[in-house]
Amino acid sequence: MLQRNSIIGIVACGMLLMIITGGFDLSVGAVGAMSSVVAAAVIVQYSMPLGIVVALLLGLLVGIVNGFFIAKIGINPFVTTLATQVLVTGFMFVGTAAQPVYGVPESFTVLGLGRIGPIPIPTIIFAIVALVTWAILRFTTLGHYIYIVGGNKTAARLAGVNVDRVLVTTYALGGFFAAVAGIVLLGQTNVGQPASAADWPLTAIAAVVVGGVPLSGGVGQVWSAVLGTLLLGIIANALNLLGVSPFWQPAVTGAVILVAVGLDSYQRKRRELR
């Protein structure tokens, strides 16, 4: 359970940053799949470190492209990242003829299935990503500006914040974290699968939102993304243990999101009306 959830958690940390700026990223699934496919291909052809580096750089690049279109051109995040998601998936199918990439050495699975003591390595990677996100939000000017940009873009600009740079950097980080998650995924399956990870964007958004972060932007903490991820994971796990049919599980998850977020939003609405 922790292994799969760690992947969503890594993606959710990037998603959190984008949600605080008032946006989100639908291309993280495509980026994750691309990252695992490219890493697999490069590892088979060349070497393991090169594969990882190339995959991460590609993730960063897609993020920068997203940020460029959102900040400089002014397309809204939904349309931009929907387009890049389709674009990246398309390129990937062309490059692989929609076939999985096999032949990654067995030793690579240490990243996805290995453990240090009792703790799975994906969980350690998740923890590191969460810690980095926390540090960004707390100790960097970028982290501070993310909140102000998400709160009021005009105010941020007039207060001397380079809004475009903040947005591009944030989406670059989001793409980078998605690529990290893609590599962990490759470590679990050992196969670069172009058709994988399609559910990441919505699951990651759900995790952040269930953690109590509104999509309107301007607020949010790392622990919200972490808690939301764990909560969704615990629900899925509990349903498995209870022997609930896998077909029912998405329905239950959907209901939990509606109830959890609904309660929070309803209370806020009541408070504002008074």
Partner: protein, 497 residues
């Protein structure tokens, strides 16, 4: 008596806001309601508007006992309220906005008869003697035009009582006069009782038939408008004397002719005649002009938000390829007009807002924000600006107008700017907060910042400035030392164009 509210009480989760208020309104009178922020005047009017069904006390409307449960019941009784923030749809035309929510039905159910709608809206405006272009989107009207649109809309139903919350706060003098004559006509010709909340005491004395003064959820007194002066009203409002800003000696200021803080030469904003101006360190320069004279645009040009041909120097250094970011780094800070739309990140904390422009100065050598430096700066500013409640984690959107404005000024001061541009720094704040803000502005000047103040409040302008620049039709048309300026001269200078 058209309206009598007796012994009205209202509390919010244990905090009593209205402690037994009596208020009355005659048909055809203009009745001003004045009080500090938090005195309860807005709450009282919200009770009248049917927003708080759980109030205690009785309301008698034209001899009939009424219970105001919802905004709809209030409206059905002929009570219309225009709030400070307009509830217009910016993209719709004036005619559509006037008819909003009661569009005439066309031939088929669910369709709108556009021709009939436009004619009816026009007729409704004419009835009030208000002229408005019916076919333009309201966003393209100025604040004054939007205000008038709201009035027409509010009065389109059979209105007996019209409540206006701070209708003049953002109007230019000429627009104000138009509004006043409209209010007088509505009262005199149609017998509408008008309740009018305002912080502009002079206008209150001049305009209103009666004045009710509130303090701490109670009515201090109600009297005839002409019987008050600004001083007597101010005294009753605060219950004690105003802070004496004269106590700060002007002698301490840097001598005029000191170093240049901010200057522009041949700055051409939107194709208007080029502007030359200079503000010295320690000097407060007022920028006077009517709404629409281009003052805010000039401010935005100076900070680099609108790129214009011409040269801008900050602290004597020419800044090329000016952007707000570069301007901030070179030591220029802007307090934008309209704190909600372009000033503050409302959902973020007081601390986050205060430190945003100063963050570049809080970095360690490795480029990280030094731990603890943000709270320290925020607390220092909260203390210095007496921001209430003194809680750095408080969400800015929940602060009162005066405190939110203090946060905005604190943000500019926290970056230790060489020059500051303040665009309407005291709009919509109460008289006490205003005095505090004035002291802070003078303080910042004494510490060496050069300050350019834009304000519609002529008294404020005369009170604060060492020198006054007059702006008409997008360019500077006058430069007067304070000693040569009187209220009347200034009014004449800005209305010439």
């Amino acid at each position: 008596m058209l309206l009598e509210m007796r012994n009205i009480r209202k509390s919010f989760s244990g905090v009593t806001v209205l402690r037994g208020v009596d208020f009355s309104l005659k048909a055809g009178e203009i009745h001003a309601l004045v009080g500090h922020n938090g005195a309860g005047k807005s709450t009282l009017m919200k009770v009248l508007g049917g927003n708080y069904p759980d109030y205690e006390g009785e309301v008698v409307l034209a001899g009939e006992d009424v219970r105001l449960i919802t905004p709809k019941t209030a409206l059905a009784k002929g009570i219309a309220i225009i709030y400070q923030d307009f509830s217009l749809v910016p993209e719709l035309t004036v005619a559509d906005n006037i008819a909003l929510g009661r569009e005439p039905c066309g031939g088929l159910p669910g369709t709108i008869a556009h021709g009939a709608l436009r004619k009816r809206s026009e007729r409704e405006a004419q009835k009030l003697g208000i002229r408005l272009p019916m076919d333009v989107p309201v966003r393209s009207l100025g604040v004054g035009g939007q205000q008038l649109t709201e009035i027409v809309r509010a009065c389109s139903q059979d209105v007996r009582i019209l409540v206006m919350d701070e209708p003049t706060a953002r109007l230019a003098p000429a627009e104000r006069e138009l509004l006043f004559s409209t209010m007088r006509r509505m009262a005199a010709e149609r017998g509408v009782g008008i309740v009018y909340i305002s912080h502009f005491l002079e206008e209150v004395c001049r305009l209103s038939d009666r004045v009710t003064i509130m303090r701490d959820g109670m009515v201090v007194e109600t009297g005839v408008g002409a019987g008050y002066t600004v001083d007597s009203l101010a005294h009753l409002l605060v219950g004690h004397d105003l802070p004496q800003h004269e106590a700060i000696s002007h002698e301490l200021k840097l001598p005029l002719g000191g170093e240049e803080a901010l200057s522009a030469s041949r700055l051409t904003v939107h194709g208007r005649a080029p502007v030359d101006l200079s503000v010295r360190k320690g000097e407060i320069v007022g920028l006077a002009g009517l709404v629409g004279s281009g003052r805010t645009r000039l401010a935005r040009a100076l900070i680099g938000d609108i790129s214009c041909p011409g040269e801008i120097r900050i602290g004597g250094k020419t800044v090329r390829r000016l952007t707000p970011e570069r301007a901030t780094r070179h030591g220029l800070a802007l307090v934008p007009e309209d704190r909600k739309a372009s000033g503050l990140a409302l959902g973020a904390s007081v601390e986050a807002n205060i430190v945003v422009s100063a963050l570049g100065k809080l970095l360690s050598r490795a480029g990280f924000v030094r731990p603890g430096s943000r709270p320290r700066l925020a607390l220092e500013m909260i203390r210095r600006f007496v921001i209430r409640p003194p809680d750095r984690k408080k969400i800015v959107g929940n602060l009162s107008g005066g405190n939110a404005q203090k946060v905005l000024l604190a943000r500019a001061v926290a970056s230790q700017p060489i020059a500051m541009i303040l665009d309407q720094p005291t709009a919509g704040v109460d008289i006490g907060a205003k005095a505090e803000l004035h002291n802070q502005i003078r303080n910042a000047a004494q510490q060496g910042s050069g300050i350019l103040v834009i304000t519609d409040d002529l008294d404020e302008l005369l009170d604060l400035s060492d020198r006054i620049l007059v702006m008409t039709s997008g360019t500077l048309s006058g430069n007067y030392p304070k000693s040569e300026m009187t209220r009347a001269r200034l009014l004449a200078a800005i209305s010439r164009s």
